[in-house]
Amino acid sequence: MSQKPHTAIKVTGLTKNFRLPTERASGLKQAILNWLKGIKGYTTQQVLRGVDLEIKKGEFVGIVGRNGSGKSTLLKLLAGIYYPEQGNIEVHGSLVPFIELGVGFNPELTGRENVYLNGALLGFSNKEMTAMYDDIVQFAELEPFMDAKLKNYSSGMQVRLAFSIAIRAKGDILILDEVLAVGDAAFQEKCNNYFASLHGNQTVILVTHSMDNVRRFCDRAILLEDGKVKTEGDPKMVAKAYEDLWNQ
């Protein structure tokens, strides 16, 4: 494992609140009624309460935590999808987020068209996509099907294509949200090998519930609880802490 000193992502004091509509507050009538009655129409829920973290270049970091602990919100903030209330996010290098596989996939388009559309959404030009295209198709093992419409793919094929774009897309920082369990056993094995090969070369942030994956791939892990960093450090130690959450 090569250690590079440079920082890829630095987060300080990150806070995020969500407004949860109380009654049915979507609609003009309710909005006017609420306003007349002096009701805000929403309650504020604090999802992240001051998160600090730093991720170095080439590090493979796992983020774990219970449902609702703020993992996905943190990822979406890092990816620039949400806007932070407070705090600061510094990102050095290009960031390729996979909050969900196959974003923007359209069943009416062919496999090829979908790859290019997905690429454009991730910020790659046609030329860059053409350079990656063969690699993606090969990894997905879908060479004969690229000119068929996506709606004629089996669900396994769709996921394989999406996943191949995700891991073949050449970005400086890769963000993955629970997307490891795809395809059949053979494809899984291939993905696992690929992940193992990423060690030290690529910055990866992985959100997962699988402690096996944390122990296997990560250099470091972070346990989130109630919107704060509870424990961070050695993957084995963090995995243990995560499992202990249920044994208290």
Binding site: F18, K76, E100, L109, L121
Partner: protein, 272 residues
């Protein structure tokens, strides 16, 4: 998001890819396919022509009335198509907004771009129509380009506003449906503006109000430059600095809408 990176390379690529996708999907599974883009305004024109030119004899004193009517309907169609695509654009692309980060204005621009492509094709139809109808070609035809730009910027501004409001208040689509019906009669498309102008003092006043609407100003100017310089335009019946009000309205609408959209777009991912 500053002005300089509004059209940076990355965003242009995404815009192009979204427009291409919209375009591919729009007329899929229809027998006549893309032909509908031309056929729809032509059919609307046919209905209006039969009712207003043949039965009610509205345009008897206007030279080349069919082309005159077609120009109006095509430009009006463009405005309604733009805003109707724009109002739904953000909500329709909710799945993208929730999962990936990119400048949201691209969604609105790509939704309206399809209307722009359709307009270009319909303009060719108008020109063929005009030549058959005996309109003499002239260099003033080129002035249609800045006019379309003006109408597009106005439509884009309204689309930004409506698209952003629609994320939280879906009522806006119903309100806009009614508003656009009313607006149709407030623009001299089916009736010649002279009809209003000649109906007394109130008519004089009303036609001035009508021609302060940027849509009416663009349509009348387009007719003036394309077909006949007997067309009554904003510049002709409104004096002084007030005649620039339509242009100012376009700029103000676009600026206010862009600022509003930018502020609201931070929370689109949570609200949509």
């Amino acid at each position: 998001m500053g002005i300089p990176n509004v059209l940076c390379r990355k965003n242009r690529i995404l815009l192009g890819e979204l427009v291409k996708t919209d375009f591919r999907l729009r007329y899929q599974d229809s027998v006549l396919g893309y032909f509908w883009a031309v056929l729809r305004p032509l059919l609307m024109f046919a209905i209006l022509y039969v009712v207003f030119a043949k039965l009610l004899r509205f345009g008897d004193e206007i030279p080349h009335y069919p082309v005159y009517l077609l120009t109006g309907t095509v430009l009006w169609n463009f405005f309604t198509e733009c805003t109707n695509q724009g109002i739904h654009s953000i909500v329709q692309r909710g799945d993208l907004i929730r999962k990936i980060s990119f400048p949201k204005y691209i969604i609105v621009v790509s939704a309206t771009a399809t209307a722009l492509i359709n307009l270009a094709i319909n303009l060719c139809v108008i020109i063929i129509f005009a030549l058959f109808n005996g309109v003499t070609p002239s260099f003033s035809w080129l002035l249609i380009i800045p006019l379309i730009l003006e109408l597009y910027l106005f439509s884009l501004g309204i689309s930004f506003l409506l698209g952003a409001i629609n994320v939280k208040y879906r009522d806006i689509t119903s309100i806009w449906d009614v508003l656009i019906q009313a607006l149709f009669y407030a623009v001299p498309i089916i009736y010649p503006i002279t009809l209003v102008l000649e109906s007394g003092d109130f008519g004089q006043f009303a036609s001035k109000i009508i021609l302060l609407n940027p849509i009416a100003q663009v349509i009348q100017d387009a007719r003036y430059n394309l077909i006949t310089n007997t067309t009554v335009t904003t510049w002709e019946i409104i004096d002084g600095p007030l005649q620039f009000l339509p242009l100012i309205l376009v700029v103000v609408t676009l600026a206010v809408a862009a600022l509003f959209f930018r502020r609201r777009s931070r929370r689109f991912a949570e609200e949509v």
